[in-house]
């Protein structure tokens, strides 16, 4: 997944090979991760797709089924992986992930400690941020989930930058071998204040900690515990609002009136298909945008803090 391996990096010349992980894209909200295998086939509502048809084509290609339906084959990225991975636990999404990486000041070469691993959604992005010279040590107290995470990291090709440990960080803290070595620490635990004293020992001078908690009571308790040894304590909430667009053709009499939501969607599809072959006439059509009706209300609070400089 990461461009650190020059043979795997995407390019005009790089084609899909046996053993590659591809993201099969049906629609923006319907994607699946598939491992390419010479004799396999991928089935969906559009028909059957032979993997052998995929081999030799570049990533980003449109491929067809036996019934004439099509999908796109995309190269995996941590963003796409977050959308297709199997949820063993609730995961973090791109808005929180991108903000965490920015605020933890992660760059190639950093050493990051994480607990809990969960489904590995954030872990994959952490690996991208610190590769090829840094490393992510991630811990989960659930043995099976840790094993599934290890498998996923192998599948996505980030396993050389991630080490998964089975450990109860709330109860035991982080392993002593990391004392004073961590550039950043990320906590997604039910009682993060129990892990904060250990985090303090692990962090390098001026190192940064982040704690993700869904409930405000957890945040309050964490902040109290942070005030002893940390400074620059800040808590945020981040959400993404998405927009949908529609082409409005004034001459076809498609006004604001009537129609159920279903028929409007159907008409919109027609507009888009019709538009592909014709020149766009700015007088007759405009593209409009509006926010999506469905929105996420809350994921969790992100609390960041820097280790106080006491020497």
């Amino acid at each position: 997944m990461l461009p650190t391996d020059p043979t795997k990096k995407i390019s005009f010349t790089r084609c899909i090979k046996e053993g590659d992980l591809v993201i099969v894209y049906e629609r923006h909200d319907c994607m699946k991760a598939v491992k390419v295998c010479q004799n396999s086939a991928f089935q969906n509502r559009f028909g059957a797709f032979k993997h052998s048809d995929w081999i030799g084509k570049p990533f980003g290609s449109m491929v067809f089924s036996n019934k004439g339906g099509f999908v796109y084959l995309l190269a995996p990225t941590p963003e796409l992986w977050t959308l297709v991975l199997s949820h063993r636990t609730q995961i973090l999404y791109i808005a929180d992930i991108s903000f965490v990486i920015m605020y933890l000041e992660l760059v190639p070469g950093c050493l990051v400690l994480e607990s809990g691993t969960g489904s590995g959604s954030l872990t994959t992005s952490l690996a991208r941020a610190v590769a090829p010279t840094g490393h992510v040590y991630t811990f989960d107290f659930h043995e099976q989930r840790a094993a599934s995470a290890r498998e996923d990291f192998e599948r996505t090709g980030v396993s050389s930058f991630v080490t998964v440990g089975v450990r109860d960080i709330q109860g035991q803290g982080f392993p002593d071998e990391f004392s004073g070595l961590a550039d950043s620490i990320f906590l997604d635990l039910p009682q993060p204040w129990l892990a904060i004293p250990s985090a303090k020992k692990m962090l390098k001078q001026d190192g940064i900690l982040c704690s993700f908690s869904p409930c405000i009571e957890q945040v309050q308790r964490s902040c109290e515990s942070l005030r002893l040894n940390f400074t620059d304590i800040r808590t945020f909430e981040i959400l993404l609002r998405t927009y949908e667009i529609r082409q409005w053709r004034a001459d076809c009499g498609q006004g604001t009136g009537g129609g159920s939501a279903g028929s409007i969607r159907h008409k919109r599809k027609q507009h888009l298909i019709e538009g592909s072959g014709e020149k766009e006439n700015p007088n007759n059509s405009t593209v409009m945008a509006r926010p999506n009706g469905e929105a996420r209300g809350h994921t969790g609070y992100l609390t960041f803090a820097r280790l106080k400089c006491l020497s």
Partner: protein, 452 residues
């Protein structure tokens, strides 16, 4: 520190300041943010006094300093905070807080008995900031009537004025973006820190990538991408038209030589044309070099840039005193934004760019994205930022209709900060209303001419 089997990368920034390095000074816990270059001659104005920044050289990032009223005038001295004291005070305060309210307090500005002259006299006699604050509290008629929360707030306010603290911070994409967004957002195209972080993720920025950027944010985007590349791969700063965009902000990042080399410039015609048109590229090269030189000259005459918030006495942007010795330092500092070599251009033409990030709030995106997108490798992600929704909507539609990209999405990030204090937890009163919009997607391998 034990090494174990953990590889510690030398590229990672040093933990201690050095002469000539660029720093971010955080005055009074985020109230005022100042970028500075640490030289023996540089100074910082706090209140109405100038303090030398020399004591800061050689100190670890994260150290705290306070202003001391010495005989020669105010100077900055290092403070080692003791963790336990703060916590104890606040706990005591909470217990007694429940029994008071403000029904008898009248805000007529007559509560304080000490005058400005009294305070100056105390200063002349060598009183520390803390002593002045204690005196103000003792001489306030209404202090005892206040709730404990109100007392805390009062004390904090006086401390900020009479015993200001300066925190030495390492400039990083996050702090540079926040500082500019607070005081001079127009310079960075109103790019908020969460929006910038999304651009970096959606643009799949990682070591060994070749990222194409259109950066009209003064170099902030280029610097942020280069930081995440860590010295490998390239960030190609391209311009639409003939004159390259300024990249001054890149200088604040304290980049090593290796990272500086990964930041290169190329015009759109350079990356799209064949090698025969080297004449054209030579003309552009001289234009680029002139731009870089004039930027160097500009920054050598202004060794510090103060982008402070207005403080209590309404001080706005100041250009602080220049000292000409930094000229030598800057010419030694690594050159950023060299023109991309023919070899590199060839590499990009053969392989394509790994991704593209655009911050061009003054331009219509579709007008140049249609020319830049073919330069990306197949299945490469891209992210386009704009302050306005409409240009992105038309761009998205055009991309959809020509099947040039899939997974297209327009997102608007929403960010809110919280104040978390015992019994006083709530979202902050102030909030940014808009962080702009991002159009993201992935380039397809089918091109417009061979539609299904």
């Amino acid at each position: 520190m034990s090494q174990n089997n953990v590889q510690l990368d030398p590229i990672r920034n040093a933990q201690v300041t050095w002469e000539g390095c660029s720093v971010l000074l955080d005055i009074n816990d985020g109230d005022r943010l100042v970028f500075a270059r640490l030289t023996s001659g540089s100074t910082l104005k706090i209140g109405n006094k100038n303090c030398s920044l020399q004591p800061l050289i050689g100190c670890p990032f994260g150290s705290l300093f306070q202003v001391d009223n010495g005989k020669e005038g105010p100077n900055l001295s290092r403070v080692i905070p003791s963790p336990e004291d703060d916590v104890q005070e606040k706990e005591d305060a909470q217990i007694s807080g429940e029994f008071r309210d403000n029904r008898a307090i009248v805000d007529d500005n007559k509560a304080q008995c000490l005058s400005g002259e009294d305070i100056d006299e105390m200063r002349r006699q060598g009183a520390t900031g803390e002593e002045i604050v204690e005196a103000l509290i003792a001489n306030s008629a209404t202090f005892e009537k206040k709730t404990s929360f109100s007392q805390e707030k009062y004390k904090l306010k006086k401390q900020k004025k009479y015993a200001p603290k300066v925190l030495l911070r390492r400039p990083f994409a996050r702090s540079i973006c926040e500082a500019y967004f607070k005081k001079n957002p127009a310079r960075i195209g109103f790019l908020r820190v969460d929006t910038l972080s999304l651009l970096l993720s959606m643009g799949n920025v990682a070591a060994n990538s070749d990222v194409l950027v259109v950066d009209m944010a003064g170099g902030l985007l280029t610097g942020a991408v280069a930081e995440r590349l860590g010295g490998t791969g390239y960030v190609c700063n391209t311009c639409i038209g003939d004159s390259p965009y300024p990249m001054d902000i890149v200088r604040i990042f304290n980049f090593s030589n290796e990272i500086c080399k990964s930041i290169v410039r190329a015009s759109v015609s350079d990356v799209t044309s064949q090698s025969e048109t080297s004449e054209q590229s030579d003309q552009l090269e001289s234009a680029c070099n002139m731009e870089i030189q004039s930027n160097e000259q500009k920054s050598s005459s202004v060794s510090m840039e103060d982008i402070s918030l207005s403080s209590e006495n309404g001080v706005s942007d100041l250009i602080l005193e220049a000292n000409h010795s930094p000229v030598n330092k800057i010419s030694k500092s690594h050159k950023v934004g060299e023109k991309a070599s023919q070899e590199t251009l060839k590499l990009w033409k053969e392989n394509g760019f790994s991704s593209m990030i655009v911050v061009a709030p003054e331009l219509d995106p579709w007008s140049f994205v249609k020319d830049l997108l073919p330069l990306l490798s197949y299945s490469a992600p891209f992210a386009i930022y704009h302050q306005y929704l409409q240009p992105l909507a038309t761009c998205m539609h055009s991309l959809q209709v020509r099947k040039m990209a899939i997974g297209l999405q327009i997102s608007e990030p929403w960010l809110r900060e919280y104040q978390v204090l015992p019994s006083r937890t709530h979202p902050c009163m102030q909030m940014s209303g808009c962080g702009g919009y991002i159009l993201s997607g992935t380039r397809t391998a089918t091109n417009a001419s061979s539609q299904q």
